[in-house]
Symmetry: C2
Subunit: 152 residues, 2 copies
């Protein structure tokens, strides 16, 4: 559907149109990912936490570190981790140096789940974006980075 059909107004400013376009596109993309995760009884946020922990390459991550890196910061990380623990995919322990902190590790079982999911989400993302060339993907990333005012 064209974004003009969605917003039903040609009078909308370019920035506002862009914001709606992003939200709309991003939501469409998320729907497809959700469909892949559903058989694993995994929410997108839980999946993101697992991937963040894998990115730690064996080191634990504090709750606050996870929260910083999460795509959507507003969810409740404690309870998110609870769910992952219940599934045996992560492990939690109190930080020795600073007992206010909590260290979270991904388990072997969690790694295996991610490895099982990798080809599925990779395939999905590739198919989703197959209309864009590599150059266009680079441009899109660059524009998004610039939008967020990344220092290139």
């Amino acid at each position: 559907m064209k974004i003009e059909d969605v917003i039903q107004s040609k009078a909308m400013s370019l920035p506002t149109k862009t914001v709606i376009n992003m939200a709309y596109t991003s939501s469409m993309v998320e729907e497809t990912i959700l469909a892949i995760l559903k058989p694993y009884d995994l929410s997108i946020q839980q999946y993101n936490v697992l991937r963040i922990l894998r990115g730690q390459k064996g080191n634990p991550a504090n709750l606050s570190t996870i929260q910083e890196r999460m795509v959507d910061r507003n969810s409740n990380t404690t309870r998110l981790v609870d769910k992952l623990i219940k599934k045996g995919w992560v492990r939690r322990q109190i930080c020795k140096n600073n007992r206010r902190k909590v260290e979270i590790f991904i388990t072997e079982k969690g790694m295996e789940t991610l490895q099982e999911l990798d080809p599925l989400t990779e395939g999905n993302n590739k198919a989703l974006l197959d209309n864009l060339s590599e150059t266009e993907l680079d441009t899109l990333n660059r524009l998004l980075d610039k939008l967020r005012k990344d220092e290139h």
Copy 2:
């Protein structure tokens, strides 16, 4: 924050990196909008419904029409509309031709609320995207459209 810091992995494929970048950026943008709507006790979805109804230019919209146009299709439109009715911003009546259908109108009060919000969200969106030139915004929109496989 650079998207590489978020995903913590240089090995990620370009499509997957792009998907994460979009989700991350879009979520950041939504946070700012949410902050604006909060004093009006309005969720983003409720706000979207109001704007969809305004786009009807006096004509009512069926629930199914609203649902089609909504950015996030999964929410429960019936109860979303309930909330807006409670605030006096929309009106609901059963369609005469087809009593299965429901017609939803925006009220004068709803229009006034939107008009009050317009400059706030416009200002927000403009400030959010002020790092991108008009050409870059056009490119971004074009790439998002193409990603969604719009027939240009």
